[in-house]
């Protein structure tokens, strides 16, 4: 599932265009982004606060099995690498 500061409307338009079927959650008040310490202050449009890119793999007990905090926001986890980690889950 994906989380950003986008409103549900923006997420709806984007997911419909791209054809994504997994949930896109809206954290417009930055509550979860702050709680996970993933705030990138002033990095959005007109200096708005947004989330930094991050991927976390959570197992069924709610425990982190893998986390990727990129050092360069042009670089993201590659799908095949993430699938390798997902295969480690029981």
């Amino acid at each position: 599932m994906a989380i950003s500061v986008d409103s549900p409307e923006v997420s709806r338009n984007m997911t419909q265009q791209a054809g994504y079927t997994f949930p896109f959650l809206s954290d417009q008040r930055l509550e979860v982004i702050r709680r996970y310490d993933l705030l990138h202050a002033g990095a959005g449009e007109n200096g708005a606060d947004i989330a930094r890119p991050a991927e976390l793999l959570i197992d069924k007990t709610g425990t982190v099995r893998w986390i990727n905090l990129t050092e360069n926001y042009f670089v993201r986890a590659r799908p095949e690498d993430v699938l390798d980690k997902v295969n480690l889950l029981e």
Binding site: M1, D6, V32, I50, K60, R65, V86, L89
Partner: protein
């Protein structure tokens, strides 16, 4: 200006610089192999630099029909192109790395905080719900949380 007088290396250098800059956002950002390291763009800039150098030298040759104008055009376009290349390099290699430390982010082995947020239809969705709601009749193995910058 006749064709033989045209400083084509200069203009080709400018064109390659523009392509090298804008093609990253327009094309190469969509493919991990050209996005994670912008090698195609760096190659384009390298070729652009060769032509810009040739164009600059040609602009300063003595046989130009309008020598002063030729020098000004060559100097200005080369400077702007170099600035554009520098802006690209700064954006990718410096600016994109200015990320917060996120030392408080959940670490491997830690439990993540529970939360509830609206999805794109406005329905409230909780992490616990995603971790426990069966998919195709089987309990989920886990959840991949992807935080992204947003489309605004």
């Amino acid at each position: 200006m006749n064709v033989r007088q045209l400083n084509w290396p200069l203009w080709l250098g400018v064109l390659l610089t523009l392509i090298g800059g804008f093609s990253y956002i327009a094309v190469f950002i969509w493919f991990p192999i050209t996005r994670d390291f912008p090698w195609v763009n760096l190659l384009l800039f390298l070729v652009a630099a060769v032509f810009l150098w040739k164009g600059l030298r040609r602009g300063f040759e003595r046989d130009r029909a309008r020598p002063t104008l030729s020098k000004i055009i060559a100097s200005v376009l080369t400077t702007l192109s170099v600035l554009m290349i520098a802006l690209f390099l700064f954006s990718y290699f410096v600016f994109a790395r200015w990320l917060p430390p996120s030392t408080g982010a959940p670490q491997v082995g830690q439990k993540v905080p529970e939360f509830t947020l609206p999805d794109s239809t406005g329905r409230q969705v909780s992490l616990n719900e995603l971790l426990t709601t069966p998919i195709d009749g089987k309990p989920p193995k886990g959840v991949l949380l992807i935080f992204y910058r947003g489309y605004w």
